[in-house]
């Protein structure tokens, strides 16, 4: 899980404004896409419930070999509801998290950037693995989650490294070195989250395959696979 666990006051005003403007632009693009696709009550309700589950899961500690870890399931949310709705969901989850002290109000922007990248990468990587590489739900979910969380861990290093912690005398290189330690831990827990997400996706594929309908291998390809296997 990659989340910038910094509270308000950690970044300078300049970088706070920059990251929040970038996040606002990404959110604006997502809202425009939603408007074009049509935000039906069903889609809004699904987004809200996913946000509620995501927020609830965020508070649960899963015992792992590297200690208790928090899942945030942003790649899974991207897989289930797509990048535009997923972007709205991560913003809502970050707002509620800020309200309880899990990250600062000013850090909503940087954290949203990180989580939006996870949602988008999770969705497209899963589609690539599932539809084009024809992998199973388990390996598609695992690969997409690990890829998304690994890249987002480095995005966290980039954001904190560029912004630097205000009040600290460390140089940028030293700050990045510190953050690389955190990134290594994030990648380790990301692999664990990848395993859990893979099992969740497999579970959903068994009990509610309609929720993963948009990642189904196209019928034509399905038929080709069947023919190639020699089944009439």
């Amino acid at each position: 899980m990659a989340h910038i666990h910094l509270e308000d006051g950690a970044f300078t005003p300049f970088w706070l404004i920059v990251w929040n403007l970038i996040a606002a632009a990404m959110m604006g693009i997502a809202l425009l896409m939603l408007r074009r696709q049509g935000a039906s009550p069903r889609r809004l309700a699904i987004a809200s419930m996913c946000a509620a589950v995501g927020f609830a899961v965020f508070q649960i500690e899963v015992p792992t070999p590297v200690g208790p870890a928090h899942m945030n399931f942003t790649p899974l949310i991207g897989i289930l509801i797509g990048p535009s709705l997923g972007t709205v969901v991560v913003l809502v989850v970050n707002v509620f998290s800020a309200a309880i002290g899990h990250g600062g109000w000013g850090m909503i922007g940087p954290n949203s950037i990180v989580n939006i990248i996870e949602v988008v990468l999770g969705y497209y990587a899963f589609r690539l693995a599932r539809i084009h590489l024809r992998r199973s739900y388990f390996w598609s979910g695992f690969g997409a989650t690990v890829l998304a969380l690994t890249i987002s861990s480095f995005v966290v290093v980039l954001i904190v490294g560029i912004s630097e912690i205000q009040g600290s005398s460390l140089t940028r290189d030293q700050t990045i070195n510190n953050m690389l330690v955190i990134a290594a831990l994030n990648i380790a827990t990301g692999i664990i989250e990848g395993v859990v997400t893979a099992y969740v996706v497999s579970f959903l594929g068994r009990v509610r395959p309609d929720l993963l309908e948009h990642h189904r291998i196209p019928d034509q390809v399905q038929e080709n696979i069947v023919h190639a296997a020699g089944v009439s």
């Binding site: 910094l6 006051g9 959110m27 509620f96 309200a99 309880i100 002290g101 859990v196 099992y199 579970f203």
Partner: protein, 250 residues
């Protein structure tokens, strides 16, 4: 008094609290801000035990990311250790930085909790619709409405798992499957609930935004005065940081 305060005033002051902790560098100034937010919390007659409990979360998060700075920040070393040619030292500047970040976090969290614990839901609805795009506001409010129910559901499932000795399962694979089943079930219930809610919403003539049933008046004169004081405080903080660093001498 705090419960009767206009929500717009409280929200505006939240913005200024966040802005002040971002601009202020002096730990004594931030300590003063923390003291004022605690007084604000106490003025709302909210239980102190709850606040101390909620403080554990930002303390944990500040420590998790900033603990490295205690060892790597240049300064006078309190204690040091040599590990195979590498020197690890705990420095005074590292502690000051950690303390600064901690106090800033606690000031914002204290004020945020006071605002949310003293503002009615229908006022939050009004503010959400006035300050966010309607799609975002709808998702935000529906999430707020169902967040507690979902958290309770997960809590019940975890209790059921523990009561059936599920926590004794060893191994990454077995534990992953156990928790994956719980989380997967949570998502399945979420989708089913969403489908039920959307049908209910459409049956009641939902047009894309939740109805705002009560208005919210503008801040009173006292509210504007408080905001004015916050603006002046922020202006002084910005001036002392960027133009005259000797303005606030502690």
């Amino acid at each position: 008094m705090v419960h009767r305060m206009n929500p717009w005033t409280k929200l505006a002051l939240l913005f200024f609290v966040v802005a002040l902790v971002t601009v202020l560098l002096n730990v004594y100034a931030v300590l003063l801000l923390l003291a004022m937010t605690i007084l604000f919390y106490l003025a709302a007659r909210l239980p102190l035990k709850v606040l101390i409990g909620w403080w554990s979360l930002p303390v944990l998060f500040v420590l998790s990311l900033s603990i490295l700075y205690v060892f790597t920040e240049p300064g006078t070393a309190f204690a040091s250790l040599r590990l195979g040619g590498l020197k690890i030292a705990v420095t005074d500047n590292g502690f000051v930085l950690l303390a600064n970040l901690m106090v800033k976090a606690l000031a914002v969290v204290t004020y945020s909790l006071t605002v949310f614990m003293t503002t009615r839901y229908n006022h939050i609805v009004h503010i959400a619709y006035r300050s966010m795009p309607s799609t975002l506001a709808t998702v935000f409010l529906l999430t707020y409405r169902f967040m507690f129910e979902t958290a309770d559901e997960f809590s019940d499932i975890l209790d059921a798992m523990h009561s059936r000795s599920g926590s004794l399962a060893k191994g990454v694979g077995r534990r992953s499957r156990t928790y994956a089943g719980i989380f997967g079930l949570g998502f399945v219930h979420a989708f089913e609930r969403a489908e039920t809610i959307s049908k209910a919403m459409e049956a009641r003539g939902f047009t894309g935004s939740l109805p705002v049933t009560s208005g919210l008046p503008r801040p009173t004169f006292k509210g504007y005065a408080l905001i004015g004081v916050a603006v002046v405080a922020l202006a002084i903080a910005v001036y002392s940081r960027y133009f005259d660093t000797n303005l606030l001498r502690w």
